[in-house]
């Protein structure tokens, strides 16, 4: 048995994992990063439109601050988020963006003088002040009060990923790609590393570490129609689930993005609408103002996606061989803007659909349809990023349910979370690794390696009639059909039952090639059962949650129910032979919230079952605020009085802004 010892083990080499690795490496820890693919190819690279941080440099973002970013994030989450974590996040985001600038991310900058922009389908002139020239600029995104999304054209994730990966290289972080973690090594409620398979040689090794951090991204590929990369199969969260100890949070909270292109499902960034692009129906009519008079195309993603489907159901979709779709029109932004700021979007439209979106009129419209995009759920953690149940296991980024997104994530808050959580959780993770020793017997490590070794041999020895690819494709179709944007009890019950059958069927497959390396079917054979477990957490969580909140929308329970459902779903897989997860709930305490539940400001009105404490807490908040304002206290002091939060390093320092008085 080959055992690799290190201080800090990071599983997943996207933005979150790499930034966490930078944090541990900087604290003098010997850090290893494991990744399925070369780290610069991680799905983080596909983030197009930008990263939210309240730097407030440009004209349309002037006056922005942490408080506004916090309020937008909480409303976006439909009050499902952990407000303390949201506070930690918004306070660190400006620091993250400035750190990245220093690492070479070429953020698009403010240019002094006048320029034309499209706002609400009208040409508008924006004039930038000379003293802001050269500072980081930002664009508009859905669900935000200010233009807060910082960007590098529409390749923001790519430049961020290269910046952070280069920094990790500079610090000599030990990055090993084409490595897949198959299980976590744990004993007495503490995690000690992972059993890892080399995807080139097929060899199994153990990685033993003082602490382990999972940053493997989301689980979008349990759906058929998804913008996610093919590696986003949720297996990182699945191996945490399979410990039987660590919990997953809010797995039913799945975001559907309004504008992936049809049929490939490749994302066209929210920046298209943020920059002024509009949605049109079969008649060429701009329909979003009819449904959302205030935010129009720029309501939160869950709302826009539902409105699009609603409009299609009203018979206004555009028919195509792939079913009905909606048109996205960005031609009104002008060719110059598109070829500079939305270049990848243009390239995607041209290469995959033969459409030049800069051409005015119907010829330049791109066919779009809401598809799975983001996993709000993941490994449930404390605000430090450590699992609530399995000591020494940390998680950050999309893999985690940290939980700053609640039931709907705002555009631009995901890449932002990756680096911010990498900074915050990475530092808490480093402290854990400094304070704790490895004290696990080699025999225990051997036991975990043997278990995976035997499992692989069992899979190769199976001689059943089922086909693993068919099972996988059926799961994806089922998730699309019955656990999608619109959900109801009947279909969710059917989904859970069929997913259980599919999980059973994975024990009756046969893998054609019997070799242990270079065998893609073997990889499917051990991944698909894990994906099915994740899918079951999503479907069962959705079946049980009899309300509509954020992206979780029940046609049989249309209201957000703060009386019964202001809580977080926790799933465990108690016994390896179980066919479905065990669900418990973690309550959210209104009386500690800085922002008690209310109307989001978009979406249908009058659809909330209010909790009596919401009003009580709101009065408390108002009283404290009024009193402290009268005493001349500033917004930071008031915030602290309402809901204190901690941050590691010097991240708690106030963020300087050009507009500071």
């Amino acid at each position: 048995m080959k055992i690799n010892y290190c201080d800090a083990l990071v599983i997943g080499g996207g933005l979150a994992g790499l930034r966490a690795a930078v944090a541990t490496q900087k604290k003098g820890l010997n850090t290893v990063v494991l990744s399925l693919v070369p780290v610069k190819r991680s799905h983080s690279a596909a983030a197009q439109g930008g990263m939210q941080a309240s730097v407030g440099n440009s004209k349309m973002s002037d006056g922005d601050n942490e408080d506004l970013h916090f309020a937008d994030t909480v409303k976006g989450s439909d009050w499902g988020c952990d407000q303390e974590v949201a506070r930690m996040f918004v306070h660190t985001a400006p620091k993250a963006i400035r750190e990245l600038a220093g690492w070479g991310v070429p953020w698009t900058r403010v240019r002094e003088g006048s320029r034309e922009a499209v706002i609400n389908a009208k040409k508008t002139t924006i004039t930038e002040d000379a003293d802001r020239h050269g500072l980081i600029t930002s664009r508009d995104f859905g669900g935000t009060k200010k233009w807060r999304t910082c960007y590098t054209a529409d390749a923001t994730g790519h430049t961020m990923l290269f910046g952070v990966a280069n920094e990790a290289l500079k610090l000599n972080v030990d990055i090993r790609d084409r490595k897949e973690a198959l299980s976590l090594i744990h004993e007495n409620g503490r995690c000690y590393g992972a059993v890892v398979r080399d995807l080139v040689t097929g060899e199994l090794e153990a990685y033993v570490a003082k602490g382990t951090c999972i940053a493997t991204g989301g689980y979008g590929r349990v759906f058929k129609q998804t913008t996610n990369a093919v590696i986003c199969e949720g297996t990182g969260a699945a191996i945490a689930l399979e410990t039987g100890i660590a919990t997953l949070g809010n797995m039913e909270a799945v975001q559907f993005h309004p504008t992936p292109i049809v049929p490939s499902g490749i994302l066209l960034t929210e920046g298209c609408r943020g920059d002024g692009g509009i949605l049109r129906d079969v008649d060429g009519h701009r329909f979003m103002p009819d449904y959302e008079p205030e935010k129009k195309e720029l309501a939160s993603r869950d709302v826009v996606s539902r409105r699009m489907i609603e409009h299609i159901r009203n018979g206004k979709g555009v028919p195509s061989p792939y079913g009905d779709h909606i048109w996205l029109d960005i031609s009104i932004l002008g060719r110059e803007h598109i070829e500079k700021n939305l270049r990848d979007v243009q390239e995607i439209c041209m290469i995959f659909n033969g459409i030049d979106p800069a051409v005015e009129g119907p010829k330049g419209w791109a066919p779009v349809l809401p598809m799975q995009h983001y996993s709000m759920g993941g490994i449930r953690t404390k605000p430090t990023g450590e699992s609530q149940n399995l000591s020494g296991l940390f998680s950050c980024g999309e893999a985690a349910c940290w939980d700053m997104h609640g039931f709907n994530r705002l555009g631009g808050n995901s890449v932002s979370e990756t680096v911010v959580a990498g900074m915050i959780v990475g530092n808490y993770f480093a402290d854990y690794c400094i304070e704790n020793n490895v004290n696990i017997p080699t025999a225990t490590v051997q036991k975990f390696v043997d278990a995976q070794d035997n499992y692989l041999n069992e899979l190769l020895a199976l001689n059943g009639s089922e086909d693993i690819f068919r099972i996988k494709n059926r799961m994806k179709q089922l998730m699309d059909d019955k656990v999608g944007i619109f959900r109801d009890g009947t279909r969710l019950i059917e989904a859970v039952e069929e997913l259980k059958e599919l999980l059973q069927k994975t024990k009756n497959i046969s893998v054609k090639s019997k070799v242990r390396s270079g065998n893609p079917e073997l990889e499917e054979a051990y991944r698909v059962p894990r994906m099915l477990k994740i899918a079951l957490c999503v479907a069962k969580g959705a079946r049980e949650r009899t309300e509509s909140r954020g992206a979780h929308y029940r046609e049989d329970f249309l209201k957000r129910d703060d009386v019964n459902w202001l809580n977080r779903t926790l799933t465990t897989w108690a016994n390896p032979n179980d066919l479905e997860p065990t669900i418990t709930y973690e309550p959210l305490d209104i009386m500690t919230m800085e922002m008690p539940p209310a109307f989001r400001g978009y979406g249908a009105k009058g659809m909330i079952i209010e909790h009596e404490l919401s009003e009580k807490r709101q009065n408390e908040v108002d009283e404290v605020t009024e009193k402290m304002e009268a005493e001349g206290k500033d917004r930071h002091e008031i915030q602290h009085a309402l809901m204190p939060f901690d941050l590691p390093m010097n991240y708690k320092e106030k963020n300087e802004r050009a507009g500071d008085k």
Partner: protein, 243 residues
């Protein structure tokens, strides 16, 4: 609306497992029906699911963003995910792994390892002694300079330029267009304090900027349309004066 039956196409893929004692490089032909908008990503996935579960290839984003799927299609290195079958009227596509990189199996090559080595050679990170307090305003950067840096930062390290490179065939240690572009990128970036002399130390030899024979297949094939020709010429002029 129903979709009419598509034409039958042939995908001919090189298969070889260097880890196997018995495997020899050979082509296998797969026949399948073309569907509207079919890319090589869709075709190869279908082949693996329905015809040959043992066929190895690499895809991640399938959108031309991550650079994982470079392969040689009918003699030209290209991103497989952006290769539309409809653009091949003869209906036959011959696939080979990219040369210049270590072969993992079939169409899968180890570009990651190569790019890592390249990144270390050109020290592909910001060099500065200044410590910036991240709670304070960021350093101002001229918007045009930021845009220029971004232009060169768009490289996705897919390796297609290296697979296209004539010089790389003659000089195994050639840093490749991708490496020279990296240097050009940091040379523009005002955050990086390296001087021309520093860059000369890294690439001022025949395995660096003076090795390029200017055949420029790199720029012809670059999926991101990077200005490789210009940038290599610029670096060469700049560094030759230091010789």
């Amino acid at each position: 609306m129903s979709t009419p039956k598509g034409r039958e196409i042939t995908i001919s893929a090189l298969k070889f497992d260097p880890r196997s004692a018995v495997s020899k490089p050979h082509f296998v032909d797969y026949k399948l029906e073309e569907t509207p908008g079919m890319t090589l990503f869709i075709a190869l996935t279908k082949i693996r699911e329905e015809q040959d579960a043992d066929l190895s290839f690499d895809f991640v984003c399938r959108a031309g963003i991550c650079g994982s799927c470079g392969m040689v299609v009918n003699g030209k290195p290209t991103l497989a995910c952006r290769t539309l079958i409809a653009n091949y009227p003869e209906g036959k596509l011959t696939l080979m792994p990219m040369p210049a990189f270590e072969l993992i199996k079939d169409l899968s090559v180890n570009t990651g390892k190569w790019m890592d080595d390249m990144s270390r050679r050109v020290e592909s990170w910001i060099h500065t002694n200044e410590v910036h307090d991240i709670s304070k305003l960021e350093e101002k950067v001229d918007p045009d300079i930021a845009d220029q840096t971004f232009e060169l930062d768009r490289c996705i390290e897919c390796g297609i330029c290296v697979a296209s490179c004539g010089t790389k065939l003659m000089r195994p240690d050639f840093i490749g267009p991708v490496g020279l572009n990296r240097v050009a990128r940091f040379e523009v970036d005002p955050h990086d304090n390296r001087t021309a002399e520093d860059y000369y130390e890294l690439i001022g030899d025949d395995d660096g900027v003076f090795g390029c024979m200017s055949l420029m297949a790199c720029e012809d094939h670059c999926p991101k349309h990077l200005p490789l020709q210009n940038k290599i010429a610029y670096l060469r002029r700049k560094l030759v004066s230091l010789r």
